[in-house]
Each structure stands twice: as structure tokens, then as C-alpha cells.
């Protein structure tokens, strides 16, 4: 396994939205979840995670709420809004088209 891959901004947004589509999570859990699911390949730095979260919140795709975690500690939980869900579907469609297109170019001899 090489160096953890840096994520471009648009892709990070997509990953965050996807991660939140199941349930509301706090920032650390989002980062952890992306890391786990990607089998430690994708590392999300807090220096890019939180600005991305604030940006998504300002655009109205996610909403934040302070509430207690399982251990009783207060944390800021992010959840997908309805327009965020629409956005996710839209972006997923885009991603599918883009990745298959790139695959076509890269794999075709």
C-alpha cells in the first residue's frame, strides 16, 4: 500500500454526502467511515474535512445539530437534507458516467 491518496474537493463532497446517506454522523465518524470502507486507502485530513462540511452546510445540502454521542459526549452531527439527497443522486449519476468513460479510455487498447 502506497501513500494515502489525497482527495480532490469535488470528490470529497461526494464521499461525505454518500457517507451521510445512511445516518447522521459527526465529523470524526465521517472520516473514519471513509477510511474503513476504502480499506485505509482514502485518508481524510481534518484540514479539508471540516471546511468541506461547512461549505456543504452553507449550500444547504447537509444540516448540523449538536447532540450527545453514545458515550454522552456533545458532538456536532451532520445529516443529509432533502436537497442534499437529490444532489447526491445527481452526483452519483455523474460519477458513474465519468468513471466508466475514464475506464473506457484507460482500458481500451
Amino acid at each position: 500500500m502506497g501513500k494515502p491518496t489525497d482527495l480532490v474537493q469535488g470528490m470529497l463532497d461526494l464521499l461525505i454526502l454518500k457517507t451521510l446517506s445512511v445516518e447522521a454522523k459527526h465529523g470524526w465518524a465521517i472520516a473514519k467511515r471513509i477510511q474503513q470502507v476504502s480499506k485505509e486507502i482514502l485518508q481524510v485530513q481534518q484540514g479539508s474535512l471540516y471546511p468541506a462540511l461547512y461549505r456543504l452546510e452553507r449550500q444547504g445540502w447537509i444540516k448540523a445539530e449538536w447532540r450527545a454521542t453514545d458515550t454522552g459526549r456533545q458532538a456536532k452531527f451532520y445529516a443529509l437534507t432533502r436537497s442534499g439527497r437529490r444532489r447526491l443522486e445527481h452526483e452519483l449519476g455523474n460519477w458513474d458516467r465519468l468513471s466508466s468513460a475514464i475506464n473506457l479510455v484507460l482500458r481500451t487498447n
Binding site: 465529523g27 470524526w28 472520516a31 484540514g47 471540516y50 471546511p51 468541506a52 452553507r58 449550500q59 456536532k76
Partner: protein, 902 residues
């Protein structure tokens, strides 16, 4: 929608800034704890875990900045920093700030004041519901001088109004006309502004009374006697102190009692902007005093209406145009010539938008006001250029600072932003002060226009249009005086600025070229204003000192109405003659005579005439004035030939006439006009008459000073077919006019308690007639001087700056042997070049812009060469004067000192 939400969340985070910061901290802290907790769970010690987590997470400050950026707080932070920086700099240089703010306040205030006038005279709509539906009905092209016109708001006759009333194009239509009324009795009677209004007026305008009731169609029926009066709200407040028990009281109007039935709503001044009506009477009541309603040849009404829903102005106009032949065919005035009748039948009606009412003020002040706005705009521009130069000099001084900032990574946008913030703060302060000033200024302007005979009542309050205007002006000025220096400051290479020892000398002449451009343009602009000033001042002088052909000083006109005596028409002549003798015997009066026409009061009496002469018969028209013997002596009008009227020229003797030179030139042309004949064309009450010319007098001005003298015929007042119980007398005295008026008023009160009299001091009336010219002369002169002073300040500032910056260089020149005079010449040459450049641009512009003013000038053309030369030389002279001090300073530079300042 999203944009709004995003803006709202931005504002929220701005307002709750502290809370937002805390949340970011708390959130990042939580993240750190989780990271550490995970490592502890994996078996690390607490301290180790903490340190590892911190390392893994990277710079907290960087993350926080990223969050702030996402929230858009960085922009606000920058703005806040700039504001703080600006306030600090300005407080450090309070003199600079004060100069800038005050000049902006004056500039923006002046512009706003003129705009306020334009707004209230031209742009604002009538204070009634749905003013955009209101249109007025006119005769297209005017009524061609047919019949008698009662003055300004007099587009239609009663007969025409009756026909238009039945028209289909309007949901409601009404008529009104000016009614100059005398209130009170005897010599204390005063003129008030009355309105004749049709019964529909108040209901069509959808107005409701402040007290009592308003006039309705039931009040406006033929034979209504004196009707009932509705007071104007401000008149009720002014003259009756807002008396609640006003309804039912009576007014004595031209000798007849009229009952007050109500008060019009507050803010309704009538339909003419610039005037305010005192009393409104129904049109039917006119019959109680006059005969206008029965005469088809008297134009005294204005008709306005509300368009029916779905109708356009053009549609209504076409509709009325189509109906016109029938309407005019059915209303031909009787007793006129065939030619008059034919002309009358060709007239056509049209409608025009009238949402902002009628206004004679608008007519005569439209061009002057726009010109004034242009002038104040140029003054502001010149002031702005001064400020730009000032800012530019400051920016040059800060060039090193800016270079350092750019070198260490500040974006250029950020630097420009800082300049703009400074400019915005200054122009907002200046603009706010200016708007405050403008109300006082515009009231001052109105006071300049206000005259005794024609009081002007306009509301110059600040509304959204005025605020939008001054905001726009403030932003524009800010862009001019802050953006230009900012862009210039960025233009330099940071490296060069850092290497340059701050002296600015090494970069050579080029360093000042932009300053020079600004100052030259100031000179060009102020040349335009100075030329305008000289043109208007000279034009006013031409009018004020014009030889009108008669005496201007020590003349009083007395108008007397004696209907109260109920004299039969055949006794009135003798009564009037007795009156003249009575006045003549008053101590101090040197002579007095009757006349039917007060000169220079924009009044006119015209009859069509036939004049047989050597080449057949001339047909045309002439002004007719009926005077008693001694009139020409009283007015000091010299005779060219022939004799004056005398007591033997009576109603029962041969008809005689005295004509003026213009009449002779136009109609008679014979070597001896005495004995020539003229015949008038019949008009109602004025049968065709043949007059023998017995004398010729010098030309005198007639309706106003601007017009050329028309052909005029004077007829003995004893032979005047008009026998109404009114008399106007010209009185010449050796006593001061005001003292004479009060003496006469007292005497008339004693000996003729029933007589209604009104006095007019001729000199004052002439002055009032020139109020527009006086206003333009004063203001143009003022603005011209201000612009010239500003331009010279700019020039002085630039020269001082150049001398200061080139101190070192001049020092070297002197050390190498340059003489004092050659150094001084160095500076003066700058002035010469700047003035030359400014004038050579300004002069052609003057020639073009002068045309805009040509309609307002009298006795000289807008491209008058002596005026242009005078303006140019005045500017050159004061520019030379302003450069003496800097030149002297340059000449005295001590080379040793200058070089030691290394």
C-alpha cells in the same frame, strides 16, 4: 432561493461570529479527543496518544482558516480590517479627511439640491390616487391667437368643455381654470389664487374633504349664483389658523359674499406644480362676476380626465381628433371674420399625459434646471479630480508600503479593495452630509425664484428618487477619486518602487504625467463653467440695462375696480377722468394717465387690421392700447411726429390713433405717416372702426423685454369700446414708490371705501420678470468661480508637489550653475503647458456645449468671441498667479541643503 439562503446563513455567521468560532473550536477538539481515544483503546498511553493524534491531524489553525473560508468570513474579515485601517489613517490626518468630506458634501449637496428641484417640478406625480391615468386635453398646436385668452392654464373655452364632457374616452373628466380673485374690500383687498373647478374635479381625482364637503356636480349648475367655496388646506391653515368652525363662514370675493362649504385635503395644491390654490369655486359661479362661460371666444379652462381602463393616451387622442370637426363646427364664436371662422373650424383636439400636472414653472425652468444640474455636476467633477490628485499623492507616498505588501503576497485585488474602502468611507460621510445640506440649498434656490407677483410653492422634500440620485453620485465620485489612484499605485513595479529611495526623482518626468493630465482636464472643465458664467451674467446685464423705450423708475400702476358704485356705462368715462385728476392732485405725483395695458407683464391685446398704403392694402394685426392724454409724458415716451391726444378727443369725435415706429415700418412706410388710416376687423364688442393716425411715438417694449417691439396702436381711452368698471393708471411721482403706494392706499380708503385697488411698482415688476435670468446669472457666476478656484487649487497643489519631489534634482541644477530665474521659469513653464493644454481642449468643447444655453441668452451668441477670450484669459491669469509661490520656492532651494538630504 439558494442564493438567499446562503446569504442569510452568511449574515447569521457574521452576527454570531463568536459563537461560530467557539463551535469550530469545540468540533475540532472533539475530533482530536476521538482520535486520541482510539489510540488509547489500541494500547497507547494517554500522553502518547494525545501527541500522535495532534501529529496525525495536522495544523489546527489551517483547518480553522479553511472553515472560516467556507463560511465566507474571510471576506468580512478583510473588510473589517480595511475599515479599521481607514478609520485609523483618517483619524491620523483629520485635516485631509475634513477637506475631502467637506468638498464632497458641498459637491454632492449642490447636485442633490438641483436634482430635488427637477424632481419636484418635473418628475413627481400629482398627489392623487392613480395619477398615471390623468391626461389633459388641448387644441393641437394652440388656438392660433383666436379670441381672448385669460392666461396660462387656458387651453379651452366653456363651449368646448361642454362638448368634451360628453366624450367616451374617459372614465371621468373635469375642467378647471385660474381665477385671480380679490379678497376683502376697499383698498385693503388682496389678490388670492382662486380656481374655477367643474363639479366633477374632486370626485374624478378621488379626493375627500379635510373639513366640510367638496364641490360636486350638483354645485356646478347654471345659475348657481356665487356657488360655494372650497378652501385649499394650506390657505385654511395660514389665514384661518385651521379654524374648525370654518364651514358656513363667508368670504368677500371681488365684492360679493361667498359661503365656505369645505376644505380640500392636505397636500392637494391644485393641478399646477409650483402654485397652490387658496379658494376653489364652481365654474358656474363665474357668471356672477364675468361672462366667460357665455362667450365662445374666451379661452379660460383646462380639461383633464382619467382614461378609461384599456385606453391609451394615443387612443384617446385619436378618438378626440376624429370628433374634432363636429365639436369645432358646433362651437364657432360669433362676430368674427370669415378667416377666423375657417381657422377655428380647422382646430383639432388631442390628449397628452398629465400625471404630473400642469406647470408654467416646468415650461420656463426646464432647460435652466438641467443646465444647472450639468454645472453642479462639472463642479463636483472638478472637485473629485482634486481629491483624486490628493489621493494619488498619498498613494505615491505609500508606494513602498504597497510594494512591500505585494512582495510578501497580498493580492492586488486586496490592495485595490483597501483604497476603495477608504474612498467609500469618505464619500458616504460626504454624501450623508451633502443630503443634509441639500434641503437648505434647494430651499434657497426656490427663494431666489420666488417673486411677489408669482409666489412659488413647491415641495422639495427628499424622496426615494432624490436618495437614489445622491447615492449614485456618491458612488460615482468614490470610483473617480479612489479607484484611479488605486490603479495607478498598482501600476508601478514593486521592485522599482523598493529600489527607488523614495525620492521619486529618478523615475523622471513620467512620474507626474498622470497628475498633469488631471489638472489639465480641470482647467478645461472650469473654462466651460467660466464661459457659461460670463455668458449668463452678460445676458442678464443686457436685459437689465436694456432701453425699453420708457421710464422704469418712479412709476406705479394702480388698478381700480369700481363695480361697487353701480355706475351706468355712459357715466364711467367721466368717473375715470375725475379719478385721474384726483390722483394728479396728490402731493408728490407729477403726472398720471389711464392705460389699458401694463407693459412687460406678459399681457396682450391684439386686433386684426387693414391699412391702405401706397401699394394697396396691408392686412395684419396690431397691439391696441387705450390711453388718456398725458400717458406718453408720464411714461417718458418721446414723440417722433404729430401730437398727443387731448381732451377734445372724445367718444363722439373723430376716431384718432397714435402708432409706434414699428407700426409705421410694417404698414405705412410713407414719408409722412400722419393722416394715414387703419381699419380694425370686427370682433364681439369691438365693431370695425377706422382711425386717423395723428402721431407717431418711439418704439417701446410690449409684453416682455425679450421680444421685439410689435406694431402698436394707441387709441384715446374715451374711444375704448370696452366699458367695464375697471381703470388702470400709470402714475409718475417724485416720491419713493413704496411711500407713494401706502399714501395712495390710505387716501383711496378714505375717499372711495368701495373701490377695489391693486398697486404695482413698475421697477419691481420688471425685476421679477427677470428672475430666471437673475437666477442663472447668479448661479452660473457662482459655479464658474468655484470651479476656477478648485482648478487653481489643483494646479497649485500639483506644482508644490512637483517642486517638493524634485527638490534634489533642482539642487543639482543650481549647484551646476542654473540661475534662480531659470529654475523659476522651469516651474512657470509647467503652468504654461498645463493651461495651454487645458484651454485647447476646453475651447472647442465650449463652442459645442454653448448651444445648449443659446435659448436662454439675450443679446449675445453662445460662441461670443470676447466672452470666450475673457474666460480664457481670466483662467490663465489666476493660474499664473497660483504658480508664483511654488516658483519662488523652487528658486530659493539651497543646493547644499537639498543635496545633504540624501
Amino acid at each position: 432561493m439558494r442564493a438567499i439562503r446562503s446569504l442569510l446563513s452568511w449574515l447569521r455567521s457574521l452576527v454570531r461570529r463568536e459563537r461560530v468560532e467557539q463551535e469550530i473550536d469545540a468540533e475540532l477538539q472533539f475530533h482530536l479527543e476521538q482520535e486520541a481515544a482510539e489510540r488509547v483503546a489500541a494500547g497507547q498511553s494517554a500522553a502518547e496518544a494525545q501527541e500522535a493524534a495532534l501529529r496525525a491531524l495536522g495544523s489546527v489553525a489551517y483547518a480553522k482558516d479553511g472553515c472560516r473560508d467556507s463560511l465566507g468570513l474571510r471576506l468580512a474579515d478583510g473588510l473589517r480590517q480595511d475599515l479599521r485601517h481607514t478609520v485609523r489613517t483618517l483619524l491620523r490626518q483629520p485635516g485631509f479627511a475634513l477637506v475631502v468630506i467637506l468638498s464632497l458634501a458641498l459637491g454632492i449637496g449642490g447636485n442633490t439640491a438641483v436634482f430635488q428641484l427637477i424632481n419636484s417640478v418635473r418628475l413627481r406625480t400629482l398627489p392623487v390616487p392613480n395619477p398615471e391615468e390623468i391626461v389633459s386635453v388641448h387644441v393641437a398646436g394652440g388656438h392660433r391667437g383666436l379670441g381672448l385668452s385669460s392666461g396660462f392654464n387656458a387651453d379651452l373655452t366653456f363651449a368646448l368643455w361642454e362638448r368634451i364632457r360628453e366624450n367616451q374616452a374617459f372614465s371621468g373628466v373635469f375642467a378647471w381654470g385660474d381665477a385671480p380673485l380679490l379678497l376683502g374690500s376697499g383698498a385693503d383687498a388682496e389678490m388670492i389664487d382662486g380656481l374655477w373647478v367643474s363639479g366633477e374635479l374632486f370626485s374624478v381625482l378621488r379626493l375627500s374633504p379635510a373639513r366640510g364637503r367638496l364641490l360636486s356636480t350638483a354645485d356646478d349648475q347654471r345659475g348657481c349664483g356665487t356657488g360655494g367655496a372650497v378652501l385649499g388646506y394650506s390657505y385654511w391653515q395660514r389665514h384661518f389658523g385651521g379654524d374648525e368652525a370654518i364651514v358656513g363662514r363667508t368670504l368677500s370675493l371681488i365684492g360679493r359674499p361667498v359661503t365656505i362649504i369645505g376644505v380640500a385635503p392636505k397636500g392637494f395644491f391644485g393641478l399646477e406644480v409650483g402654485k397652490s390654490f387658496d379658494v376653489a369655486l364652481p365654474i358656474c359661479a363665474e357668471a356672477a362676476w364675468g361672462t366667460s362661460a357665455d362667450r365662445r371666444d374666451v379661452w379660460w379652462l383646462t380639461v383633464m380626465g382619467r382614461l378609461k381602463p384599456g385606453w391609451t393616451v394615443a387612443g384617446a387622442s385619436a378618438h378626440l381628433n376624429a370628433l374634432s370637426p363636429g365639436i369645432f363646427e358646433a362651437t364657432v364664436p360669433q362676430g368674427y371674420s370669415r378667416w377666423s371662422d375657417d381657422t377655428y373650424k380647422q382646430l383639432r383636439l388631442k390628449t397628452t399625459p398629465a400625471s404630473n400636472g400642469a406647470s408654467r414653472l416646468r415650461q420656463s425652468y426646464d432647460t435652466p434646471l438641467w443646465l444647472l444640474l450639468a454645472m453642479t455636476g462639472i463642479v463636483l467633477l472638478v472637485a473629485c479630480v482634486n481629491l483624486a490628485n490628493l489621493m494619488l499623492a498619498r498613494a505615491t507616498a505609500r508606494q513602498r508600503e504597497i510594494a512591500v505588501r505585494i512582495a510578501i503576497g497580498a493580492s492586488r485585488r486586496r490592495v485595490v479593495f483597501q483604497f476603495l474602502t477608504e474612498g467609500m468611507v469618505l464619500s458616504i460621510l460626504g454624501g450623508a452630509l451633502g443630503v443634509g445640506l441639500s434641503s437648505a440649498l434647494s430651499r434657497g434656490l426656490v427663494a431666489l425664484l420666488d417673486t411677489e407677483g408669482e409666489p412659488i410653492l413647491i415641495d422639495v422634500s427628499t424622496d426615494w428618487r432624490v436618495l437614489a440620485f445622491s447615492t449614485g453620485v456618491a458612488i460615482a465620485t468614490c470610483l473617480i477619486f479612489a479607484l484611479i489612484p488605486a490603479i495607478r499605485a498598482l501600476g508601478g513595479q514593486p521592485l522599482a518602487a523598493l529600489k527607488d529611495g523614495g525620492r521619486g526623482a529618478t523615475r523622471g518626468r513620467d512620474a507626474f504625467s498622470f497628475h498633469r493630465l488631471l489638472v489639465a482636464s480641470q482647467i478645461a472643465l472650469s473654462l466651460i463653467l467660466l464661459t457659461g458664467a460670463l455668458l449668463f451674467v452678460r445676458s442678464f446685464r443686457n436685459l437689465a440695462t436694456l432701453d425699453a423705450g420708457f421710464r422704469r423708475h418712479d412709476i406705479v400702476f394702480m388698478s381700480a375696480g369700481y363695480q361697487g358704485l353701480n355706475l351706468p356705462p355712459d357715466k364711467r368715462q367721466t368717473y375715470q377722468q375725475r379719478l385721474v385728476q384726483e390722483i394728479q392732485s396728490v402731493p408728490g405725483v407729477s403726472s398720471a394717465a389711464l392705460t389699458s395695458h401694463i407693459p412687460l407683464a406678459n399681457a396682450s391685446w391684439t386686433l386684426a387690421i387693414h391699412v391702405p398704403n401706397a401699394r394697396g392694402e396691408e392686412v395684419g394685426d396690431s397691439k391696441f392700447t387705450y390711453v388718456s392724454p398725458g400717458y406718453f409724458g408720464t411714461m417718458d415716451v418721446p414723440f417722433v411726429s404729430g401730437r398727443d391726444f387731448n381732451s377734445f378727443d372724445r367718444a363722439d369725435t373723430a376716431r384718432v390713433a397714435i402708432v409706434n415706429e414699428a407700426f409705421v415700418r410694417r404698414y405705412i412706410r410713407a414719408t409722412s405717416p400722419i393722416g394715414a388710416r387703419l381699419r380694425t376687423v370686427a370682433e364681439p364688442g369691438n365693431p370695425s372702426t377706422v382711425y386717423d393716425v395723428i402721431g407717431v411715438v418711439k418704439d417701446t417694449k410690449y409684453g416682455n423685454l425679450r421680444e421685439a417691439t410689435p406694431a402698436t396702436t394707441f387709441v384715446p381711452s374715451t374711444q375704448n369700446p370696452d366699458r367695464r368698471p375697471n381703470a388702470v393708471m400709470a402714475i409718475h411721482s417724485s416720491v419713493a414708490p413704496d411711500a407713494l403706494v401706502s399714501d395712495l392706499r390710505r387716501r383711496v380708503k378714505e375717499s372711495h371705501p368701495d373701490m377695489l385697488v391693486r398697486f404695482r411698482v413698475f421697477e419691481r415688476q420688471i425685476q421679477d420678470g427677470l428672475s430666471r435670468e437673475r437666477l442663472m446669472a447668479w448661479l452660473a457666476g457662482f459655479f464658474g468661480v468655484v470651479a476656477a478656484v478648485l482648478a487653481v487649487i489643483g494646479l497649485y497643489g500639483l506644482l508644490s508637489y512637483i517642486v517638493q519631489r524634485r527638490n534634489h534634482e533642482i539642487g543639482i541644477r543650481v549647484a551646476l550653475g542654473a540661475t534662480r530665474s531659470s529654475v523659476a521659469l522651469l516651474v512657470l513653464r509647467q503652468t504654461g503647458l498645463l493651461v495651454l493644454a487645458g484651454l485647447s481642449v476646453g475651447l472647442p468643447v465650449c463652442l459645442v456645449t454653448g448651444r445648449a444655453a443659446s435659448s436662454l441668452l439675450f443679446g449675445l451668441s453662445p460662441t461670443d468671441v470676447p466672452t470666450l477670450m475673457a474666460a480664457a484669459s481670466v483662467l490663465a491669469a489666476i493660474a499664473a498667479g497660483a504658480s508664483l509661490a511654488p516658483a519662488w520656492r523652487a528658486a530659493r532651494i539651497d543646493p547644499l541643503k537639498a543635496l545633504r538630504e540624501e
